[in-house]
Symmetry: C2
């Protein structure tokens, strides 16, 4: 005998489908989300994957079925749909017959109905109760929008002829050298967890010209700030046969414009519920050189930043506000990054600059967007200059790709977590991660 989830012969309707069934007897299933008494009536809210249904219970036999049942209990309910403008979705269920599918007898340690994030100053509270906290509608919306961002990104890239790749996360050496990595014993050898698919995506330009990957990346960040996580979900994109560095900037600009515009168009109500700021973007993002930004900043604020190589965090905020006011764009490029700070695989530009730009959005840098050094000899020279052995097992395959011909190419990567955070206007990147990992947190 197969287990049945209800005695009704009706097909299960979802919460947002009620309004098109006014006057009908229908069947719903979901979680008991809220319960209250009002004027001798019992009101319950039932949660399903689309939202809430309000159910009004008058019949004592039915009310009795709820005795001892806590939030989270799984119920099947048959009832009549009545129009009710004050209820979620404009309709509610009357004269219900309840079937208890999964009784819950323990009170939840948090109020599911109230969001923990935003107002919570203590992130530990948020994540200690994450499993149940995510059942809050606002929390869940964050991750529904995150899933949409992933979908939009892939759809944009498919249209531009990009191929999705999966590259290994267990690697022989640290791809970018230096930075903190997690290590594991790999059958007697030492393996590290990939910090980025950088070398692999460049190798794959030699096969497909245009590739992307969305995958976890690992960083043993010792900093215990609210902003540092040790596992992120990264989008990585690489494009070959570019005419110049600007083409790479155009690509990330078009991607971000397309994805964010679509999110705000298709999910305006949800974003409003989450109190997301209004989106302000122009199809072409303003581009200022580092030198221009330093000069503008000094002129407007009177502060001396002539000794800074990079943008200071204050300057990042400032140039975003400047671009917003002058150009109406919350996204802006800082071009001509200093060559002294570039990675060995970036291409040098003119006058001590790299062919690399920072993409800033809503006050912070979300991506670095360089052209790569694709010329074999120049690359090997740059590797040696930073102390990397081009013949070592971690780098030899990468160098092989250049030696046997890679076209001019460039790319970028950005954290899906960070993008979700900034797209919605959350306070902390961790709020955009289901089960974040940091120096103090390895569970749930």
């Amino acid at each position: 005998m197969e287990q049945s989830t209800g005695s009704s012969n009706h097909t299960r309707l979802l919460s947002d489908e009620l309004k098109t069934h006014i006057g009908e007897v229908i069947h719903i299933e979901g979680w008991l989300h809220k319960k209250r008494l009002l004027g001798g009536l019992t009101f319950i809210s039932m949660r399903d994957r689309r939202g809430l249904v309000q159910v009004v219970i008058q019949d004592k036999t039915e009310v009795e079925k709820l005795r001892g049942l806590q939030i989270g209990s799984v119920l099947a309910i048959e009832g009549t749909v009545i129009e009710e403008p004050r209820a979620p979705g404009g309709a509610e269920l009357h004269d219900p017959k309840l079937t208890v599918l999964v009784p819950v007898t323990t009170e939840p340690p948090i109020e599911i109905d109230k969001p923990l994030s935003h107002k919570s100053e203590n992130l530990d509270t948020l994540f200690d109760h994450r499993v149940l906290g995510l059942r809050n509608l606002q929390e869940a919306t964050i991750f529904r929008l995150r899933s949409e961002l992933l979908r939009y990104i892939r759809e944009f890239l498919y249209k531009r002829d990009f191929i999705e790749i999966n590259t290994p996360k267990l690697v022989a050496g640290a791809a970018e050298g230096g930075a903190e990595v997690f290590k594991t014993d790999y059958f007697g050898k030492e393996a590290t967890l990939a910090q980025s698919p950088q070398l692999y995506k460049q190798i794959m330009v030699g096969v497909f010209e245009r590739v992307f990957e969305i995958a976890p990346a690992f960083r043993a960040e010792l900093s215990a700030t609210t902003r540092h996580v040790s596992e992120v979900t990264m989008l990585d994109v690489e494009m070959g046969f570019i005419k110049n560095h600007s083409e790479v900037l155009d690509l990330v600009q078009d991607l971000l414009y397309d994805v964010l515009t679509r999110l705000y168009e298709e999910h305006g109500d949800e974003l409003k519920n989450l109190r997301a700021p209004q989106l302000k973007l122009t199809p072409r993002f303003p581009r200022y050189s580092m030198a221009e930004i330093h000069a503008l900043y000094e002129k407007e604020t009177g502060k001396d930043v002539s000794q800074e190589i990079d943008l200071t965090p204050e300057e990042e905020k400032w140039i975003c506000e400047y671009a917003m006011q002058r150009e109406g764009s919350e996204a802006v490029f800082a071009t001509g990054l200093p060559a002294s700070k570039m990675k060995f695989y970036h291409m040098k530009g003119e006058d001590q600059t790299a062919r690399s730009a920072d993409l800033l959005f809503r006050g912070i840098e979300i991506s670095t967007v360089p052209q790569r050094e694709h010329r074999y000899k120049e690359l090997v020279a740059q590797m040696k200059a930073t102390g990397i052995d081009p013949d070592s097992s971690g780098f030899a395959p990468y160098v092989t790709a250049m030696k046997h011909g890679l076209p001019a190419h460039g790319g970028f990567g950005f954290g899906i977590d960070r993008l979700t955070e900034k797209a919605i206007g959350l306070n902390n990147v961790k709020e955009a991660i289901l089960f974040p990992r940091d120096i103090n947190r390895l569970s749930p």
Copy 2:
């Protein structure tokens, strides 16, 4: 001055676009893929992301530009498109003017034009030269089809209201206990690399009802067979509010049918080039119980398998052939798996069976498809019976999800690598992985 990839004013055309430009002077860019002399003429094949273009060179000045250039060199070519039925794409380029964008002077260690896999008995040769071997058109096609499979899977699941999730790969304990795991030092604590998102996806049923994830999973497989890899790309799917176990079988059946049918419809030519077998599927996959399969197999082969709890590999092959001949389906379910082999999170069925089935395709099991034990008390009992402490940090969040109400649910997972292998009819799962990882191989 930005670097230019060619002197032409024409926009770059791709190899498959030539046939609509017969008689025109056009511009292409790509890799020198092949070079040969024939009747005083020089023929070269140029490779780009869509395929090959044949170029006929007569002019001595142009032939001279190729002197010393090896396969892999990146060229820009302007020339006139001439109809030529024998050339790839039905057209070739005449009177070309060559510009060398990236000269390659080292001969490749393998012949790019010839595929290494299939005929290669030595997998080491295949993977030692992977970076360049992937530039072979047939090798590249495998990964183009793999990218398509990923796209089809997601599109199917989006239509069914599934939400994409990203769960952590650094976890506190081994999710399924026991099996071989990779370990890493996590700021003084011990973390393991996730073997599967099993517990997280079930937790997320409590939030979204329907979730999926495509992500790497790690298994420290000590076996050095050709079939074992230590890093796989897994699809994981979980669905709540099911009426019975059959609904889960229907889901994976509909998914596989949709995705494979679409692959064969949209990529028939490429599959033919790869010598993939013809696809034979029925919308409903045949379903036989384990007991039926044992009985049928004994009857037909005369072999005694009454002592076997599970299907033997020979039986797996046999039942696939049987279903193929009787029902015209290369996919088949073996239902009613033995309860003695079920995991603690599976649901018990009738008479020593589990509510779990194996999905077999083209001779081997590609997925196990169970209903989960969603009842708190029963689950805790099953955990304790297998020696798992429900209060331990690795399992407490999972148990919390049940304690506070999860509906009846089930799901499955399968390797994207394995699916790609079987969909194309490759000899080895590693041929479907860009840079496979096994006991002997941690690079490239």
